[in-house]
Symmetry: C2
Subunit: 199 residues, 2 copies
DNA sequence: TTCTTGATTGAATGGTCAATCAAAGAAGGG
DNA sequence: CCCTTCTTTGATTGACCATTCAATCAAGAA
């Protein structure tokens, strides 16, 4: 594996574990067994490492996140809840310390460089677009007038809010309740379509 | 105003504007026109300032947040959306840089001291309890079997997720869409009760 | 062999940070 | 007036941090 990639992977994990500000360049160097000069040969500054990490996450959402979560699941609406279930798994596996890497960075960086902010937004957009594709694939199971882009964003909203509370309370139940409320909303949407079909 | 309170107010604002790690003790001192010794006379460490700020927010939620948002509004469900509207106002007034002080701290601090974590959780609980009280006051306008504590948490979830995305995209529309999805969910709950009453 | 280029080394720099502490000041009771 | 207690002063400390840079190394091209 080349040096640049090693740095990106180590930084990604450290930013996720400790946050951006609390991760020192020395942390990245000790984890990769590199010297500072090597890092600064490939990246002009620590912030450029962050940018590379965010680009890596943005470009890898399909293979790294969606594909594993959707393996063996074809129903578009079940895919949405399968993705949420994969977050649940990460929460449990981390003893409720899991935080969405993008969400955590989005709230940690208070005056982000425009490029960083745009990449955070692009990561959110990529996630929401994947959900929107599911909602479109669900076709007429959902009301035809439904704003599917808005609902896709709402799924992201529920995930981020649920993860935040589960982590703060150190209790998955807070995530589970958010998902079950979302599920109830989806069921009311589907039942609304059926009721109108009967009438 | 006594020194201790001056420090808490200045720190509260700075933690909200810049985050905890990016706020230096020197920042707090220059804003309060105090010397380091004064701060360390009242607080053993910077973290104890954070603890005092979180206690201040927890104890002041009624007067500082709910009372202004609910002035002149009696309907319990409208109170929920009035509170969300007050967040919308803060988002707009800050040019979409607003972040919930608790949510931001909850995601910024990756390995929080137990006391800090518990205070963050207590702040969330206080917020959700206020919403739950509204949901209970709404009586039989909502389904009797509804888990009102879970729905109250979901309102917090939607607020935090909406604020996060509005800030990241620098666009209130992301908050508005989250609120309108929540509104649609409430309407489907209320209509469900009416439909059952007619049957 | 010689030159060139990119990659790596690791000590050094300048700056910021939280926290300390001895000394001085203020206020009040006796 | 003294004594006590609380409060404030502000220079100082030592740790850590991002970044720099001159020097070295490896390997291919000429």
């Amino acid at each position: 594996m080349d040096t640049r990639t090693k740095i990106i992977l180590a930084a990604m994990e450290l930013f996720w574990l400790k946050g951006y500000n609390s991760t020192s360049v020395a942390d990245i160097l000790s984890r990769t067994q590199l010297n500072s000069g090597s890092l600064y040969h490939f990246f002009p500054s620590k912030q450029d490492v962050l940018i590379a990490v965010l680009e890596f996450l943005r470009d890898g959402i399909g293979e790294m996140l969606l594909a594993p979560a959707w393996a063996g699941i074809d129903d578009p609406i079940e895919r949405i809840f399968a993705l949420l279930a994969s977050y649940r798994r990460m929460i449990v596996e981390s003893d409720c310390t899991y935080g969405c890497p993008i969400g955590s960075l989005a709230l940690e960086l208070h005056e982000p460089d425009p490029k960083v902010r745009e990449l955070l937004a692009a990561n959110f957009t990529g996630w929401a677009n994947a959900i929107e594709a599911c909602l479109i694939a669900a076709g007429n199971r959902l009301p035809c007038g439904l704003d599917r882009a808005a609902l896709a964003q709402f799924v992201l909203t529920a995930m981020e809010g649920g993860v935040m509370q589960a982590r703060t309370h150190r209790d998955v139940a807070f995530f589970d309740r958010a998902v079950s409320m979302l599920r109830a909303y989806f069921e009311s949407l589907e039942q609304g379509v059926q009721a109108r079909a009967r009438a």
